[in-house]
Amino acid sequence: MERSLSGDRRALEALVGEYQRPLYNAAYRILGNPDDAADATQSSFVKAFEHLDSYDPKYKFFSWIYRIAINEAINQSRRDRKHEPLVDNLAAVNAAPDSTVESDDLERWIQDGLMALTDEYRTVLVLRHFSDLSYREISDILEIPEKTVKSRLYSARQSMKEWLVADGIHL
C-alpha cells in the first residue's frame, strides 16, 4: 500500500491483480451485463489510483476501493437505465408459470430479480451474497449503520422472494 501511494507501478499492478475480480463481479451483479461491469471496474481503479493521496491508511483499503466501485456501478446504472422493465422482461420469457426453474435459466432469473430491486436493496444483496461480506464490512463500505444493513438485507430478500413467487418461480 505504501509503495502504491508513492506511485510504484508494480504495487499498483498487485492491487489490480488482487481486487479486479471481486470488484468486477460486484459491478456485474449491480449492472447486469459484462461490458458495463468492465467499464465500471476500470473507472473505479483509475479513480482510486488518481486519488490514492486521499486514502487514509487507518482504514481498510478494500473498503475504500469497494466503496468507489459500488458508487461507480450505481452511478453508471442510473446513467444508463437501459435494462428493460423487469416484470415485462420476465413475463415475456416465463412460458411456464408455477414451474420449477431449470438450472440453465436460474442465473438469468436471479439476475433479473436483482435488477428489479432498488439500487439500495440490490447493493446489499450483492455485497452479502456475491462478495461474501459481513454486516460490518458492508456497513464500512456503504457508510451506513449495521442496523441499516440488516434491515435492507431483510427487505431485499423479502422483495426478491415475493417477486419470484409472483412470477411463478419456485426455487
Partner: protein, 265 residues
Amino acid sequence: MGDQDRLETRALDLINAGIDGELDSDERSELDAILASSAEARIMQAELQKLANVLDGMPEQAPPADLADRILQRTRTPRGRIFALPRIFASSQAVPAGLAFAAGLLLTIAVYEMAPSQFSDRDVSSMVGTMVVGSRGEQLRQETELDISGPGVVGAVTLTDTGNLVVLSFDVTAERKTEIVVAMADTGLGFGGIAREAYDEANTGEYYEVSGGELRVVNERTHPFTVYLRRIDPARASSRQIGIEVIHSGGSVFQGSLDLDDQRG
C-alpha cells in the same frame, strides 16, 4: 397480510441473521426455540435460506482477460497545474524561513491535490487559513545542493530535510521548456505537493504528473519551484537517493542524485 407481517419482527431478525451467520450463541438458542414452536417461522426460514443458497451458488463471473491491462494503461496520476503561491514564497533567498513555513502548508497543499478543481490556482487565502499548527517549529536539517548544468540548462536544486518532509527547491534556467524528473521510487518518500513562487497566466504549458515513483515537472524556461515529498514508510526504504534528470530539447542533458543519507545523520 403478508408472511412477514404474521411473524414477529424479532423472529424475522433472527431468521435473517441466522442465514447470514451473524448470530451469537444466545441468539442462536433463541432462534432455535422460535423455530421449534412456530411452523410459520420454519417455513419462512426455509424459503429465505433457499433464496440465500441460490444467491450464494451463482457462478462467479470472470473479468475480461485484458481488463487488468486496460486499467493499468489508463492509470496515471492526473496532470496537475503547479500551485502558484505568490508572496508566500516571495523570495528564494529566504529559503530556510520559507521552508519552515512550507512545512506548515503541506496539509493544505494535499487538500489541493485531492480536489484541485475546487480551487483556482491563485486562491491562497484558504491555504493560509488552514495552516497546520506546530509544523512551523520543525527543526530544519542541513541543506544539500546539487548543481545542474547541461546544454541549454543551468541551475541548482537544494534538498532540505525537515524530518517528515523532504523539500526540493529547484532554480533552473533553461533556453526552452524543460522536463525535470524526480525519481523517488523505493526511497520511502511519496509526493506531497508542488508550488512555485510566481504565477504567470502566459505559462499555460506548465504541469506536473506523478507516476511509477517519478514526479515529472514540465517547466517553462525559468520558473523556480518547490517540491514537497512526504516520508511514507522510511523503515522499508531500500534506496537513499533521489534521482534528478533534466530533459531539454528532447534529450537528457543532466542526470544526478541527492543523497538522503547526507541529511539524516
